[in-house]
Symmetry: C2
Subunit: 431 residues, 2 copies
């Protein structure tokens, strides 16, 4: 069968069923478009099947089962959770009227895609609009390619049935830190190595320091400004978390006249590459974060529905399920105030006083521009600060908002008061 | 010694060192006033010494030590935490230059207070401004007075060294619910009885239902529309949580020409009763909540400092450390959308899918007017929704704010999308 053979006309064709693609599909369908979604594996993408969800699941399991070297129970639980979530997404897509085609797709023309739907079986689709949402792939370490067994990426590590005696992790990103903490809790002797001079090098330095302290407190050996390759030989298992690259392999973009950069597609605020070509999720330039993908998916779905939507996110939060939980949003540069968690009654009764709530703000206007939190529940606490930044809230706005006592959320209020030079539960910086 | 004897002139005199009084003291001192604080016991008040902090501490201990009938470890831990927090408040007061007088105070004139500072030893103070912050007292149940042993208030229950075999709790407020859940987890057979037809009768009905389900799931027998007195006889121990009344006993208010109602002092937005007489905290009309007290304390401290402050809280959150955590803020009446927690990946991997995030909003404007959450971490999640209400945020504002994945905080975004009729992770109500 060749291009030009019989093809099916489709309205909106979405390539990839991850958090970008499936969300876009549901939203576009809500807006009255007829949507066809092509996915080679299971819907839910990397996030749901092999990334965020299993990784956070392991973090929770490790915290609840310290020293548990047998991961059979985890894998059972993980499979159940992922199946439930994948099933949920599938049924939501069906309820929205989205047609799902299982197979691998590539462009064969400006408005035509070929999908291999089985061995030696292909179908052609002529689309009115196409959305590229094919995600990203893990990058290996130079000189130490993944071998699928001893040297693996995060995905394979999350499928292990037992906890290695010794584990070398090469990387400094949030995935490397989360896996180091989880496997240390489960009983591995973990070495975490990076060429960078701090963990989480693109987070606020205070969060880097907190990640370092927390990992070491669990026995992780942290080697910075080091050559990760040096640790590969000795460990029973090796995880390489070397970042991700856009997955455009085999898409035959040139057939559609589409270009892509090394960092992925550069799209406009409507997620367009061209009038009828959209790209969303990890294939676009920017951080590979599921919530960025879903936001882009919603925007593209609205644009496809003729709505005046645009990607306009001031504040993109990032969370790390480490020891303690870490979260950051917005600016890291500027005036700042850092409230030690020990000032909060909630932290004292929890025995978790090692963290902080740090606010970054504009001194003249008092507008909050960033927030960086190391605390139990930091991953949820960052929600309030993200809304604050999106709403243009000032320190006064947060300080004059009642925060229930005793909660960790009080940290935002106390940090705002500290920034305003009138702290109640810590001594003033200016005294 | 009689009125008219030698007295000490003081600038600002604060009666009571709880969350209202000590916060007001620190803030007034920050604003340049000379502050003297009279406290008969330890600073920190009911909240810190015998209320919120020990109660939430017990909730955490019970969740971490199910079936632990021996409370010695808890009491040691509780004492350490309270001592640390009381010590912290003391040293903050000292650092702020606040003079602390230990004793019981009463008015002997319009600008004069007498303080019994020891047996047969009194001191007189002539104040420029006075702040009444003497807190509240637990109310007993009609016909079953506290006996200090078997029939007690929450304070005494929190000091128990062991967990009773059978425990009857009379009440329906958040304290009764928290104690029922904690003692059920610790192994008591708990009966929770109220004359009302639902628990938490002044919360959103969905939170009442969640409290009921959660308590029953832990084996609590919940008897509603019942006579609490009927359960008193059978149980090994009885806790009566019958609300609180303003503590103005022995203040001799008439000597200062001050009147008080049954519900407490009615103050203006500057916390004034009279030009130089302020009242803050549980002695004022309104809910006896520590964070209301601290907010009033900050306002009064600013007014005392000549600043244009006023109590202007649109949204006063309330939290319950129950099963699961419950939290509510703002309106319970109006259009609403309720997102089941099962729609969140974070809840699925936690195995905690029984709760919800409910938003109440104005249909025309989309402005959020209330939020009611039953979820792990609800007590902290309510922070974002409280800020949303204070900032006048709309459903769109929350829906267009990126929420990190996977977190419980995503519930707010998903609930906002549901309210807007375009949900992603649940089916639309309107389909």
């Amino acid at each position: 069968m060749v291009a030009g053979d019989k093809s099916d006309p489709v309205d909106v064709l979405i390539l990839g069923g991850g958090p970008a693609g499936y969300v876009c599909a549901i939203r576009a369908a809500q807006n009255g478009r007829q949507v066809t979604l092509v996915e080679r594996g299971r819907v839910g993408g990397v996030c749901l099947n092999e990334g965020c969800i299993p990784s956070k699941h392991l973090a929770l399991f490790a915290a609840a089962h310290p020293g548990c070297r047998d991961l059979a129970e985890f894998q059972t639980s993980r499979t159940a959770a992922v199946d439930k979530l994948v099933g949920g997404v599938s049924s939501l897509l069906k309820a929205a009227g989205v047609a799902i085609i299982q197979g691998s797709a590539w462009f064969v023309g400006q408005t035509r895609v070929c999908v291999e739907v089985g061995e030696e079986s292909v179908r052609y689709f002529d689309f009115k609009d196409v959305v590229i949402a094919t995600g990203s792939l893990a990058l290996p370490m130079d000189g130490h390619p993944f071998d699928g067994e001893r040297v693996v990426g995060p995905r394979e590590a999350l499928a292990w049935m037992s906890v290695p005696e010794t584990l070398a992790i090469a990387g400094d990103d949030y995935i490397a830190v989360e896996l180091a903490v989880a496997f240390a809790r489960l009983g591995s002797r973990v070495t975490l190595t990076s060429a960078a001079d701090r963990l989480l090098p693109d987070f606020d330095p205070d969060l880097s320091a907190a990640a370092d302290r927390g990992a070491r407190s669990l026995g992780v050996e942290v080697a910075l400004a080091a050559n990760p390759a040096s640790i590969v030989e000795d460990a029973e298992r090796v995880i390489v978390s070397g970042g991700r690259r856009p997955n455009v392999d085999g898409l035959h973009l040139s057939a559609a006249g589409i270009a892509v950069g090394v960092e992925g597609f550069r799209v406009d605020r409507q997620m367009r590459l061209d009038r009828h070509v959209f790209a969303i999720g990890d294939v676009t330039e920017g951080l590979p974060l599921a919530h960025r993908s879903t936001m882009q998916g919603r925007v593209a779905g609205d644009v496809l529905g003729g709505k005046p939507a645009a990607m306009d996110v001031r504040a993109l939060p990032r969370v790390v399920y480490a020891e303690p939980e870490l979260a950051g949003v917005g600016a890291t540069e500027g005036d700042s105030a850092k409230l030690p968690l020990a000032a909060l009654g909630r932290a004292v009764i929890d025995g978790s006083t090692a963290g902080f709530v740090k606010l970054v703000f504009d001194k003249g206007s008092g507008v909050i521009t960033g927030a960086h939190i190391a605390a139990p529940r930091a991953t949820d606490l960052i929600g309030e600060m993200t809304l604050a930044i999106e709403m243009g809230a000032t320190l006064e706005d947060v300080a004059l908002t009642a925060h229930a006592h005793p909660t960790f959320a009080e940290g935002a209020l106390e940090a705002a008061e500290l920034a305003l030079g009138r702290p109640i539960h810590v001594r003033s910086l200016r005294r």
